[in-house]
Structure formats: structure tokens, C-alpha cells
Amino acid sequence: MATATKREDMNIVIVGHVDHGKSTVIGRLLADTDSLPEGKLDAIRELCRRTSKPFEYAFLLDALKDERAQGITIDAARCFFKTAARNYTILDAPGHIEFLRNMVTGAARAQAALLVIDAKEGVRENSRRHGYMLSILGIRQIAVVINKMDLVGFSKETFETIRKEYTAFLERLGIVPKFVLPVSAFCGDNIRDPGVNMPWYEGTTVLETLDLFENERDDVHHFFRMPVQDVYKFTSGGDDRRIIAGTVCTGRIEVGDDVVFFPSGKTSRIRSVESFPTGPAAFAEAGAATGVTLEEQIYVTRGEVMARKDEPMPHVSTRLEASIFWLGKKDFREGQEYTLKLESKKVRVTPEKIRSILDSGSLAKRKRDRVRQNEAADCILKTEKPIAFDTANQNASTGRFVLVDGYEIVGGGIITASLPDDRSELKTRVSIRNSKWESGWVNPSMRAEKYGQKPILFILTGGADAGKKDLAKAFESQLVRCGHIAYFLGIGTFLYGVDSDMKLSGNNIREEHIRRFGEVANLMLDAGMILIVTARNMTQADLEIMKTVITGDVAVMWVGKERMTDIFADLCFPDAYNPENLVKMNEHLAHYGVIFERRGESL
């Protein structure tokens, strides 16, 4: 069998300004390669007859009713066709400016692009904008299709003028288009066959050009990266495997390899590469949606990146430099909070500095503190927690991210550099601590199941005499009465105990106090506890130190009428003695799955 399964696949995106003839090019490609199911062509011809419209190849794609009414393509549709060499999927991207996000959707899946320019209209805003988007999306193989040559009398001069203008633009983006083709999709010139109208052109046709594009190889020789997508422990049928699941971005891993998880720095060794229904395999490489079990049961979660110990480490930082493109209706602004998603990692992020805005039409740079819809920018981003990443030129998939505002994906970006953050040294210490961490045989999920709760650090902060301690103690009592394992840790207990050396010597370094407090809290969280602490006027910077040190979840409550620091609080209690407070705190725990019904008494 298998001549068909061994064939290469390639995704091609087709972009360009509205009405420059993308749909006609595709319609012609489908028809010329005999790729249309019989039913389809007839259905469209019949519909044209009924609606008294002349048949056009473009109608093949505009399969939706309301689209035909508008006469424009509004989404990245997929069509399939074949040449002798390959199976192609052609992704149709829309021409209207507000539909850039659909173009991104189509283009991000493609290995190569056809960029269509109307010979009569010439280079337009979206011709340039789409060229820029292709460059930021990492698509380097571009064929410029100068279409509607029939409308300019198949003129070589017109073709040459447009070719020079657009090639110069692409060169400024670092792209050298391999192919610039004069085409008439309407007449069928230079789609599959050269045709008779342009004897002066000696290059390839669109179909021949596609076959000359090179397919990207799955990069098995690159260093290994596998973002943890999930951790499975399905117990039915006596299954006791704990499987770290994910899709390998690059590289290769074998049974017995030593691995490190980032940003936590935890280490283990591959015990097995799991597979169903064939049973364990010896290795997994780039592109595989796989799963591994580990020799030592360490606690890792979704969002960490698994790397090999004998290969270069990813960067770990909270600050990074990136080139972004913005699709949101609301401006992207300095100081505003968004969510960043990099492979399986999800983290809060704030633009620290927008360095420059790029007009993707003219490539001019300018200064502004906000990025508008469909603009691109260079900026510095600051994440709430450390994340692991590579720069885009080191590793494409772990070097790019999307930005989410509310419920919507509103932008994307590629990482150009890792920047030092103020906790770099602390993070190194935490990484080393984690790599030396000695776990018992009971792992956190066993503990959680037994206790009917997950560990969390509950911080109550606010001004002096706001009633933080009373509220904290009341909450502790309530949790313990309900059968939970909770503990109130007083700051005094701490200052005159663990911190007594610093207290006595007068060497009061706030950071060091917080670090130690975090270390102790981390132990108690690892023991499965709900830990309640109070701290006066805690700042966001204090909280970030704390979060660097501890592994688990943190919730912050502000107690008092007035907000006195910049800390991001999950809940605010203007009056510490309002009986509603305890209800709200309890709801918060239940909502985040910290407390739940115990499933069984024993494991």
C-alpha cells in the first residue's frame, strides 16, 4: 500500500489585498488539478444558473450563503489538491483589513505562501501588511503572484514595475522571494500551464512553483523540548502509571535519559515512553504526541518544559523582549495586565515598556505607549511568575506566544531576548533547591486525595490594626472545624524564631525575611496544608519574591478600607469583622478546587 501515505503534505496560505483575485486563483488550481468532487462543481454551476450569475471559479470557495452575498472571503477556508509530488492544503486568507486574525490563523499553519497582487491595482496596503505578517509568523518561502495580467494586456513592463516595487519591500523584511509570477487566473495562464499570452515569461507556473517549495523537516536533531501538557493518573483497570503527556516540539528523548523540568528545575530520569495500543516504545521525537513515566516521582504540572540534562537549558526569567502583533479592538497598553500563553504555559503578563510601533505598511518606526489594532511593536514584557522559554531564533515553538485579554486571543509575538530580572539569583537558588529536593513516597496528589484539599498559601495583608490577625485566626478555626488541615502562622512566631539571627544583629533585610518566610511556607505547603499568614502592607514585589520561592498556589486578601500598596489582591475586605468574609474566603477555596469532597478514605 502506502504510496499515498508516504506522499508529502504541504500547507500553503494564500494572502493579498481584497479583490486581488485569491479565490479565483484557488478555484482555478482546484479545477486544473481535477481536485473537485463531481457534486461540488455541478452544485455551484446549478446555483449560478438559478441566481442568474455568470459562473466564476471564485464561487467554489465562497461556499457559504452569506459570503456569496457579500462577495468576499471572510475566513481561512481549507481546500485540498494534489500534484504528482505532494498533497496540498490551501488556506484561503481574507483580504479585508479587520479580518487580519483570520489571515493569521491560516498563515500560521502554512509552510509557504502565495501572495497575490492585482496587476491593474498594483501594490496596496494589505499587500505589504500581509508580507510583514508572513515574516513575523516565520514563513520565509513566498511566491508573489501578479494576477489579472489579462487586464493590463499581459504587459511585461507592468509586471516588472510591480515586481521591483514589491521585491524591494520584502527585502527590507529580510525576505527574498524565490518566485514572482505573472498570472491570469481568469484565463488560466501560468496556473497549471504557461498558456499562450505571455511568451516573454520563461519561469515556472504556480503549480510548478509550489512543487519547488521545500517542506520543513521535523527538527529531530535540535535540542529536546517537550512542554508538559498534562499529567495522567487513570486508575481504572488497575492502571498505576503516572504519565507526563505532551507533544515533542524538537529533538529526541530515549528511555534512561536524564531530564530537567523548567522553570522548577526538578530532575528525574525517563523510565518509559508510553504508547497505546502498541505498548512502551524506546524513544519519542519531534512532532510526536507522546507520554513518559519517570524513575523518581516528582511533582510537575502543566506548563513546565521538559529538557534533557545534557543539552542547553531554556531561559528562565520574568522579563523578556519580544516583537508582537496586536489584533485586539482595545489598545495594547503599558502597565495593563494580559495573559500570556506559551505552549502549555499560561501566565499573567504586563507590558513594561513599548519600545516602538511599526507601521507594517511603510515599515516606519515611531514612539507611542500603546499599540493599536493590526499594528506591530517591539516591547519588554514582564510575567507574574518565571517562565521557561527559548528565543525564537533558537527554537521556534518555545520562542513564541499568544496574548489573551479576557476570554479572547488578541495578539501574538516572538521572543527576541531574555532579560535579567531582579530575582535571577533567587531563582537559581530555588532551582538548585528543587533539584536536591528529597521526596517521600507520598506525592502531592495522593496527599490531596487523602486530605480532601490542595495546599494553598492564604496571605492576609493590609494596614496596621486592620484586624488581619483576627480574621486569619477565625478562618483557621472554621477550616479546622470542617475537618481541614489548616494552620495560622504568625509573623511574630517567625521573626523571633527562624529570623532571630537577623533580628538580633539588626541586619534587617526585607527580601531575606520574605525568602525565609517563603521557604518555611513552602515546606508546609508541600506537607499538604492550607497555610494562613498575615503581613503588613505587602507589596507586589514582596509577593513576587514569595511566589518565586514557593511551588504551590497563593491567594491574597486585602484587609482594610484603603488600598495602601500595589499588590494584586484576589479579594478585598473593607471590614475585617464582617461575617460575610469567611463565606467569601471559603467560596474562593472551593472555586479554585482547593477544598473538595473526599473521594475515598484510603488510596
Binding site: 500500500m1 452569506d66 500560521a108 481504572s236 504526541a289 489584533l327 479572547e408
Partner: protein, 293 residues
């Protein structure tokens, strides 16, 4: 990496993403070849387990073998099997076979409506009890907010516009012109309360891919897809009154693959045997906007 393996990996990645990111997830299983391949992919993704319920919408007019095959596989693979149906329409004989309404109106009542109310938990759900092997009314009536569906982009026009993760609003509506961007393996997994999401792991597969994969992995298929000696077989499965078998002597998966690749089916639309597609220019598109699979 070969074509089928690349498709398999992408689908598994999407299934795992759905399981990790969406609450109250279920998978629609129509008993047809596509969703059966999807079910098989789920067993691969979760290493032999299927960690969410399978939901089948029974129109009451399904071909008998389909239901038998469903229950056999549900027992064998220990599936959390649920079915739902529009009992009221069937009782009132508001169906196409009863002569009261059109094809499209019948699909709307027996499939679209039944699906919407089964997913929302408003109508009874029948869940397989693996101890007795029978179905019982499920006490859990929580709405499903993530629904995995086996549609393919090459099936017909409107499906080629779908996303891998496709949000639906409170009324099950699909806003074709306003879909979220989807790139770099990042999908829309954050949702406002009251909305839900359709997940489409098979979007990039073609009919031929499905059959080649069935052959490669030896996935059991309902016998209706094969000629049992009378020179006919089903290419696409639906309700008995509205789905016609095609002329074909393909008795094995191998023969089906050959027929699709080079034989007489290579250029005939897959759903040519499905009546509801023909009734009006955008019939299926309208149904899809209202939640039809």
C-alpha cells in the same frame, strides 16, 4: 513523519488540550467511521482510557446494526456511554418518515434539538450501566460545556470554515464571521459563563485519510460500510429512511480504500447519499449555525 502519523499527532494534541482546559467535556459519537476513528484516537491520547462520556443522539431511525455495534464497543472498551433523543417528536410523529415534515425540519427536530437538549441536560440522558449492560436515566443533568465533534473540513463548504476550538453562544449559535484566531497550537480555551465550545480534532482529515487510518490501525467498523454480497454498501451513515447505500462491491477496508483512491468514488461527493444536503442551497449551513454537527 508520514501523513497519517502527522494527522494522528495533531488530533491527539487537540484532544489532550480539550481534556486539560475544558470543564464538563463529552465526545459525540455518531457510530460512523469518523467519530469512531476519533474515539480510537482518544484511547491513544489517554493511553487506553477514555476519560469523558460518549454521547450518541439516537433519532429512533438509526439503522439497527449501528445501535448493536455502539453497545458492543461500549462494553468492550468500557465507555461511559450516554444517549439522548427527541421523544416528544417521535411520539407526536413529527418526522419526515411519518410524512409530516421535510427532511431538513426532521433533522432539526430529531438531531439538532435532541442534541441541544441532551447537552444542556434539559432532556433525559440514558447512561449505560456496565454492571447490568442496560441504559438508565442519568441523574447527572449538568450541561456539557465542551463537546468534541468529528467533523472534517473536506466534507462540505461550511465545515471548511471551522476552527479546532469553536465557541458557541448560549443559543448554540455559531458566528462564522467572528471566529477567534487560532495559531501556534494555541486555541480559544477561555470562555464566558453560559457559552460552550465545540472541539474538532479531525478537521484536517479527509475521507481517504480516515479509511487509510482505519486500515493501518485495524479499527473495528460497523459492517454497514461493507458490501455483504448484494452489491451495495453505505458510504456515509445516517437515518435509515434518508440514507441510501451506494453501488459497490467493496467487502473489506482495503477495497474501500482502493475504491476511494483510484476507483469510481474518487470524484463523487461523500454525502451524495444524504438527502438533507440537497433540499436547498444553504440547508446544511443553516442547520450548522443552529448547532447541527
Amino acid at each position: 513523519m508520514d501523513h497519517l502519523t502527522a494527522l494522528e499527532n495533531r488530533s491527539i494534541h487537540i484532544l489532550r488540550e480539550a481534556y486539560s482546559q475544558l470543564g464538563n467535556l463529552c465526545m459525540l459519537w455518531s457510530i460512523g467511521k469518523d467519530s469512531t476513528v476519533m474515539l480510537y484516537l482518544a484511547r491513544k491520547a489517554f493511553f487506553g482510557h477514555v476519560p469523558f462520556p460518549l454521547v450518541h443522539i439516537d433519532t429512533g431511525y438509526k439503522i439497527e446494526e449501528m445501535i448493536a455495534y455502539r453497545d458492543t464497543l461500549a462494553r468492550e472498551w468500557k465507555l461511559d456511554m450516554i444517549f439522548g433523543m427527541n421523544e416528544q417528536a417521535l411520539q407526536n410523529k413529527e418526522t419526515f418518515p411519518d410524512g409530516k415534515i421535510s427532511h431538513v425540519a426532521c433533522c432539526k427536530l430529531l438531531k439538532t434539538e435532541a442534541l441541544a437538549h441532551t447537552l444542556s441536560g434539559a432532556w433525559p440522558r440514558y447512561r449505560m450501566n456496565h454492571e447490568t449492560g442496560t441504559y438508565q436515566v442519568d441523574r447527572n443533568t449538568e450541561p456539557f460545556t465542551g463537546v468534541i465533534v468529528g467533523v472534517r473540513a473536506d466534507e462540505e463548504g461550511s465545515r471548511s470554515k471551522e476552527r479546532y476550538f469553536s465557541p458557541r453562544d448560549r443559543n448554540n449559535d455559531w458566528d462564522v464571521g467572528n471566529q477567534p484566531p487560532e495559531f501556534w497550537n494555541q486555541y480559544k480555551t477561555d470562555f464566558a459563563p453560559g457559552t460552550h465550545v465545540r472541539v474538532h480534532p479531525l478537521l484536517d482529515w479527509t475521507e481517504l485519510d480516515i479509511w487509510e487510518y482505519i486500515e493501518r490501525e485495524s479499527i473495528p467498523m460497523v459492517s454497514l460500510y461493507f458490501d455483504d454480497g448484494c452489491g451495495k454498501r453505505y458510504r456515509s451513515l445516517g437515518c435509515a429512511p434518508c440514507t441510501a447505500p451506494i453501488e459497490s462491491r467493496a467487502k473489506t477496508v482495503r477495497e474501500v480504500v482502493d475504491e476511494l483512491r483510484t476507483g469510481k468514488l474518487a470524484s463523487i461527493a461523500e454525502r451524495s447519499g444524504r438527502a438533507q444536503d440537497k433540499e436547498d442551497g444553504g440547508g446544511l449551513e443553516e442547520l450548522r449555525k443552529q448547532g447541527y454537527m
